[in-house]
């Protein structure tokens, strides 16, 4: 079974982000880049499915500039077999739909039985590409999955999605798209052997023209980035615990009107 995993390289959560001179993007100097954490759940699940079935191929795909190779390399170190890098300046301002169109074109070429994505990338937090891929491909889709099991024939995946108040379980005929939620699994750390082996694995560069995609403006565009308005200075309530608690309750009721 061939499984395709989409990954995105994002700034590490702890990294400071500054607005670039253009006012629309971030200044990438000094940023530590990581694979978006949810994508690691997707990679791990793909590897587990392959291992359980004893055969198959896991292909990692990412869209972005040259630095994205590093993220693909770390997915290869975890155990993906090969990688595809959608690397073209035409995608530099791609919104979720443009990204989904590029990924869908690769998926049509690769024809995997299953596509696994992370629930959302932790930079722009849209959480949209998985569903948009499903729509462009005409495939069924399940979001925020906590379990995924392929049947013995490799015809369906049984997925449990997290919803308010519980889990909903569905059988999705393959091919299908799933969005991984935290709790699906515990991603492995790459072994030294994995890291060494990753250096020899293929990362194929793909341009928009290779996919037959005409350049088109993004449907959603960024007008500008802005810093958060500062929160008004808070107040540390002094005194022994009973006194401080009484004052807190009074302040919440009378000053903040929050209770």
């Amino acid at each position: 079974m061939k499984i395709l995993v989409t990954i995105k390289q994002v700034p590490d959560t702890a990294t400071q982000v500054k607005i670039a001179a253009d006012g629309k993007t971030i200044d990438t100097t000094g940023i530590t880049w990581i694979v978006s954490p949810y994508d690691e759940f997707a990679v791990e699940e793909a590897l587990r499915i392959k291992e359980k079935r004893g055969q198959g191929e896991v292909v990692a795909v990412s869209l972005g500039p040259d630095r994205v190779k590093e993220a693909l390399r770390s997915s290869l170190a975890m155990g993906c077999d090969r990688a595809i890098h959608l690397n073209d300046a035409a995608w530099s301002a791609a919104d979720t739909l443009a990204t989904a169109k590029a990924l869908a074109a690769v998926i049509k070429q690769e024809a995997p039985q299953l596509v696994l994505c992370g629930r959302q990338a932790i930079d722009d937090d849209m959480g949209a590409v998985t569903a948009q891929l499903a729509e462009l491909l005409g495939w069924p889709c399940a979001y925020w999955i906590m379990e995924a099991a392929i049947d013995a024939d490799g015809k369906t995946v049984r997925a449990a999605r997290q919803v308010e108040g519980g889990l909903e379980v569905f059988d999705l005929p393959l091919p299908a798209v799933l969005a991984a939620q935290k709790g699906l699994n515990e991603p492995r750390y790459p072994t030294l052997k994995g890291i060494m082996g990753a250096k020899k694995k293929e990362i194929k560069d793909v341009k928009a023209a290779d996919l037959g995609i005409a350049s088109e403006p993004s449907q959603l565009s960024i007008v500008g980035l802005e810093a958060l308005p500062p929160r008004p200075a808070g107040r540390i309530i002094q005194g022994d615990v009973p006194t401080a608690v009484k004052e807190l309750v009074r302040a919440l009721r009378e000053d903040a009107k929050a209770i």
Partner: protein
């Protein structure tokens, strides 16, 4: 009606819209007075639910009532809603951020070939174009976005927008557009209910209590739940507490958990790591209780007490009880 602002109804799976719809309808009415329509995909809408949508300010309800819509599947919903959108030409399609809407509207936007602004916290009209504002980079920045063409599809973060005031007696015209029920590829197997805590759902609650590493162990969350019962709050946890196995993942607040925006957030033994702040920094009032005066959460707290949470929580429960009994 062409040019309407659609509000996709999130319901309680029992025929009534959830109260977050007052926020969605309220914001749509502020942007497009008199042009607000509710679009409801459900297996069964109640009369009371339809009445509620009218009182909140929907001029018209487009009701797509069919068993095929439950349980929710994005493939089915997107096909039906896109057909209706082609006939109706709405200017905007709004929905609250919930488990199904976040997937559904993304799929719908792709089907319509338009942009999507997810988890929006502010809207403004710039001439005849809509501009949305949404948090990015763990909530460290805000991004203003706009659409190349309509319908402008967006989800709205709950508890951020001012809810519409219900106007008793105001009614919506209810229409049931004819529908070719789309076929579904995925088949429902079962629903597994969570053990109910009897407390509100994390993302919907107006008050949220969060316990971090300072809780010291899973057994101690009972004191937070007791406080939660007194003030009607949901009880969540930080990543540290979830990764330690003290609470199931569904209770995690933060970047790899739930994003919340309650009127009141109370953090106990929560240090305030960036990834936690990403999930709660748009809360209106933030209270922090921590033994460590250097804990980063105090930097964004409106009120802080530097003390042992195990002394503060029982005292707070007692004081709130007194207050609310009055």
């Amino acid at each position: 009606m062409p040019n309407a602002f659609w509000c996709i109804v999130e319901d309680d799976r029992n025929g009534s819209p959830k109260k977050v719809m007052a926020e969605v309808i309220g914001e749509a009415a502020r942007l497009a007075p008199g042009r607000v329509e509710a679009v409801w995909l459900t297996d069964k809408a109640s009369e009371a639910g339809l009445k509620q949508l009218g009182e909140w300010g929907a001029a018209r309800v487009l009701l797509l009532e069919n068993a095929v819509f439950v349980p929710y599947r994005s493939e089915v919903w997107a096909a039906a809603a896109a057909d209706l959108a082609a006939k109706e030409s709405p200017a905007a399609i709004f929905a609250p951020v919930t488990s199904r809407q976040r997937e559904f509207v993304a799929r719908l936007a792709a089907r319509l070939g338009v942009g999507l602004s997810a988890d929006s916290v502010r809207f403004a009209m710039d001439g005849d174009k809509l501009v949305a504002t949404r948090p990015v980079y763990a909530g460290k920045l805000l991004s203003r976005v706009t659409w190349a063409k309509s319908p402008w599809v967006a989800t709205l973060r709950p508890n951020v927008f001012r809810p519409a005031d219900a106007q008793p007696g105001k009614t919506a015209s209810v229409e049931r557009p004819s529908l070719t029920a789309p076929g579904a590829q995925m088949k429902f197997v079962e629903r597994r209910e969570e053990v109910s805590t009897g407390l509100p759902e994390l993302t919907e609650a107006e008050t949220v209590i969060s316990g971090g590493r300072g809780m010291k162990g899973p057994e101690n969350y009972v004191i937070l739940e007791e406080l939660g019962r007194v003030i009607g709050a949901a009880v969540g946890a930080s990543r540290a507490a979830v990764d330690a196995g003290w609470r199931p993942h569904r209770f995690q607040i933060g970047q790899t958990g739930r994003t919340i925006s309650p009127k009141l957030y109370l953090g106990f033994g929560v240090s305030g790591a960036i990834q936690h702040l990403a999930g709660m920094r748009t809360s209106k009032v933030i209270v922090a209780v921590n033994k460590d005066p250097e804990a980063p959460i105090f930097k964004i707290a409106d009120f802080g007490i530097v003390a042992d949470l195990f002394e503060v929580v029982p005292e707070l429960t007692k004081e709130f009880k007194k207050l609310l009994e009055k």
